[in-house]
Point group: C2
Chain length 631, copies 2
């Protein structure tokens, strides 16, 4: 049991892939946290835009949230159709690739990837922001707290999606029960005519201006952040166990219904109890959900439990990205648009490269912005709505290519495509100056990078392609150059191996010193070589290996060696050259400090600079694990 | 012309070694800065201890500095003898090794190494401290300034000692001229009876206590820091050009005479003008040399030029360590007590590893102490005096072993040994509580590490030793396993090479997928293999390579491969096994990101975990530089 096993669990076999998939119970916490967490900042964002209207704002919050809930309902039915049409993976990338072509699919991929990275940064910093406003003494530790949460979520996901789901199940279901319960209790109370809040929310300010279409558009655009996370189920299809469709439907339904109920309930109760958003920068700030809970249930134990569950799911809402991003990258990498490493399942059958990249990039964003990523929120809704629109447009195309029987389905996806496109346009216009333009720069850059990677792989494949059978000119054994530093058991092994693969063996010894000692040393070496190597081998009737002494005046071995190889190549072009480098294998880190790694460096240089006819081999000697040394 | 050539200069050949050596003109700045810089803090340190005596302290500073100058004179004559007895290298390590044995030499080596590292940290932070007190707005940048200076000195020394000497010549000679000139001018003035200082130093405080032996011992111990750096010439012998002795004598003489004149002059003038040390922590602090210059010459342009030269040589006094430390480490490493890398001359024939280690360790100390290393000063004199004593004791032994003719020389070194040992005892007692005890811990730890390294190399040598001639059992060609991912030009090359070294070639293909696709894929692969490889090779009358499909259920290739090797070894113990891994050579960093480096990782694992009979070779394919791909 080593450290990695302790941290990540044992290595899983390919056939265990099915066992690690998840049902809807784990999927709601694993995939749904982004969607559910949105219920806290969606209404808050819309109400914040309405602050200038004062109490008048409450007249409009109902209709604005109504539009959003209606859009959510349209999206729900649209995505149900996507799931049933693409039961293995219904992400926008796949739908766009199959129905719309390369560039739309890359657009979807780029938008989704940016969205996922932003979701981690924004989610974690929002959660930590809430935590810090609850416990102000934590304020100096915002960045370390953010990084710690990213690290925990990363570790949970490196163990596996199921593990993350189980780990996050308690706060998720607690959150659902607390908030749906509170809203139901509040609505029942309102129905029974109890109009007085338990703890009254702070009074709303006076109206500073009248309602304009621009303001309402802005409120709608801000409220739309509540809908990010809905596409997550379609991207996470690969993680569901059998019956896949049932698990996916259940998960999507739970997420959307809970989100819809929360949004609708919050809007209704806020209107009834006259709850508005407060200025975050002022002292005494309370979030809309905090005011709402207090109005319904007072500041008792329930309030604190519910708020703690909200805080937990905000912090953990990053997990949605950890489910979707690596799977998306795997598909994109399998198509050659991302490095192959993203397509390689790791120790626990999760896509390690994607998880590490996502964590690293989000951590960089969090460090760069000091853990305060409010400015990134506008960018974030755009990615989501771009994805929605492309996915629905793809589905429209999907149905159109089929027969007329699918008229109803076509209609649903068309409504979805048109309405999300309309919302996208509204968001783009309303949020353009606030940073939405950054997305318009980042997405094309990302697409260009993806295309460049693809073209590298295409040229690589062309370079390596071998049409037809092997072409064999001759199979003359190579001239084998054995690098020898001294006559010891290491060089003995290398010479012995060289003799098994070729009769033409040359031992190469580098001379580094100059001066009068040099000649004497050379003579002694040649004599030792004659007695210890040449004569015994000649006695067996074999061609003895020659000893060549080569000066290395610049203390670099590869240059004189490459010159020698060139000369040998010119002298006998029919023989290739192979270089054998004896190498001691170091088991421990401190052994590496005590050895020069001359073998490794020489090998790297030769491989890099040698001609196409050169082969480089290392003959390993495992220190203290081979035959015992002679007494 | 690439970046390294620009930064470090072109790579030098071994025969250029002599050209890079230095004469006394370059040696004084390169080696002497530590010794010359000492003149600023030695008297200051002694006077600081005397502060409690008030004006009475001036009575004692003369005798205290007199003792120190006398000790310096003894040391000068002692070291002259050492230089002439050991003209190639007269460092304490060599002298102790030749005359006193292993442990004294390791004691000298450990003391010197610690001393050199401390000298860099203390010198640089003292220089930056002086700079910051001159320009207070630099205060927030103490650590970056320290690191920048270490970096500049490191870079200069990576280019070569001569380059560092030339670079630092101007401030060094300017310092010598300014201060010797000022002191001569002051002394002449005093001789002519001008008793009034140009700018009067601040009045000395009242006597808080009377002079005690303890206080005077303490003043002497503090003043002895002025003598660090005297041993540097003996350690730097290897860097002098012909005539070595003359250059070494000149350098030693200049350093010691200038230092002696400065110490004596400062003491005399300070007594005459009533200059004492001031409390560094109080506002309006001025160093002793600053008060002295102002008293002699006023606050004119000369004052600023002289102070600037002092500041420069303080900052650069670290350079002495950069000359001595790498040469010391080279000798210790050549004897096997330090990693071999320390004995390897780099691109510019300097000992790169030693320079980098010294810079890194000093930088760590500077960062750890925030650039304020005052507390390390007591440690620092101990290393120097320990070295003096061992070196002189070794010389005593050296002369005693020879005939009686050397009685005078024996006497001089004996006086040196006894007086430095006495000074060492005084320093140890006076400074014990201030941190001198740390040296008593650090030195034995360093010696233990040196001994452990030596014992590793001894056991390594025993492990690798091959007494007698080669023992050749059989030269049966090995079974060659060629790793093939797909049939392409990469695997074609590897198969072709395999056929040249052995008739027994097996192509190994790993199967990672399970399920129904697998069988179909396997069949297609076998068919392609038969047509493209087996049949053409059989047609040439050769044994065609078999194709083995091996499942890799855990996505790691080395485990199934090692199992196969074990099986082959058991089946035919007379044949060794060689694994050939085809590898694409990546020229650019971004190519590494786009490839999985599966070849490299497999190679590392096989070399580490394979048995002694396994050889691992890579067959390189240089992307885009080999034959053009087929049209």
């Amino acid at each position: 049991m080593n450290l990695s096993t302790l941290m990540f669990g044992r290595r899983l076999a390919n056939r265990e892939h099915e066992d690690k998939k998840i049902g809807w119970v784990e999927a709601v916490p694993a995939i749904g946290l982004d969607g559910l967490g949105s219920s806290s900042y969606g209404p808050e964002a819309a109400l914040t835009v309405l602050i200038p209207l004062g109490a008048l704002g409450l007249v409009y919050i109902g209709p604005v949230m109504g539009c959003i809930v209606a859009l959510l309902a349209i999206l729900y039915f649209s995505y149900r159709q996507t799931l049933s049409a693409y039961p293995t993976n219904g992400g926008a990338y796949v739908v766009a690739k199959e129905n719309l072509g390369e560039y739309p699919s890359l657009l979807a991929a780029a938008a989704l990837m940016i969205d996922y990275v932003l979701n981690v940064a924004v989610g974690v910093s929002a959660g930590v922001g809430a935590l810090v406003s609850a416990i102000p003494s934590l304020h100096p530790y915002i960045v370390p707290l953010c990084l710690a949460i990213v690290f925990v979520v990363m570790l949970a996901n490196l163990r596996g999606t199921g593990e993350a789901g189980s780990l996050f199940a308690l706060p998720t279901y607690l959150f659902i029960i607390c908030f749906l319960g509170a809203i139901a209790y509040g609505l029942v109370g309102l129905g029974l005519g109890e109009k007085a809040p338990v703890v009254a929310p702070p009074p709303l300010g006076p109206a500073a201006q009248g309602a304009t279409l621009w303001l309402l558009m802005h409120a709608f655009a801000s409220g739309c952040t509540a809908m990010t996370g809905v596409e997550a189920v379609s991207n996470g299809m690969g993680s569901f166990r059998q019956p896949v469709m049932r698990n996916a439907y259940f998960t999507l339904t739970i997420i959307v219904v809970v989100l819809g109920l929360l949004l609708g309930g919050v809007a209704t109760i806020a209107t009834a109890f006259e709850i508005g958003a407060m200025d975050q920068t002022r002292e005494g700030y309370q979030s809309v959900l905090s005011q709402l809970l207090a109005a319904i249930a007072g500041h008792g134990a329930f309030y604190y439990i519910a708020m703690a569950s909200l805080l937990s799911i905000l912090c953990l809402s990053a997990n949605t990205s950890f489910v979707g991003f690596p799977r998306l990258c795997q598909m994109v990498a399998a198509d050659g648009y991302l490095p192959k490493a993203f397509a390689q399942p790791g120790r626990r059958l999760v896509f390690t490269a994607g998880i590490l990249f996502l964590s690293g990039f989000a951590a960089l964003l969090l460090i760069a912005f000091g853990g305060i990523t409010d400015n990134l929120i506008p960018l974030f809704a755009i990615g989501a709505f771009l994805t929605f629109t492309i996915s629905q447009a793809g589905m429209t195309q999907h149905w159109r290519r089929r027969s007329r029987r699918y008229g109803a389905k076509l209609a649903i996806n068309s409504v979805g495509a048109v309405s999300t496109a309309a919302a996208l346009v509204i968001i783009l216009i309303a949020k353009f100056a606030e940073g939405a333009w950054i997305t318009l720069v980042a997405v094309p850059v990302a697409i260009a990078v993806l295309k460049m990677i693809k073209s590298y792989y295409i040229s690589l494949q062309r370079e390596l392609r071998k049409p037809g059978p092997i072409t064999l000119e001759d199979i003359e054994p190579p001239t084998v150059l054995v690098i020898t530093e001294a006559w010891n058991r290491l060089s003995e092994r290398a010479i012995k191996f060289a003799l098994t693969i070729s009769p033409d063996v040359v031992a190469v010894h580098f001379i580094r010193l100059g001066g009068p000692d040099r000649e004497e040393g050379e003579k002694a070496l040649r004599e030792k070589w004659r007695i210890d190597v040449e004569e015994p081998i000649a006695a067996l009737g074999l061609r003895p290996p020659r000893l060549m002494l080569i000066p290395a005046p610049y203390r670099q071995l590869h240059q004189p060696l490459l010159r020698l190889v060139e000369k040998l190549d010119a002298d006998s072009p029919e023989r290739r050259v192979a270089v054998l480098i004896p190498e001691t294998v170091k088991d421990r880190w401190w052994q590496k400090l005590l050895h020069m790694n001359r073998a490794g460096r020489l090998r790297t240089k030769l491989v890099k600079l040698g001609g196409p006819r050169l082969t480089v081999a290392t003959v390993p000697w495992r220190l203290y694990r081979e035959e015992p040394p002679p007494a």
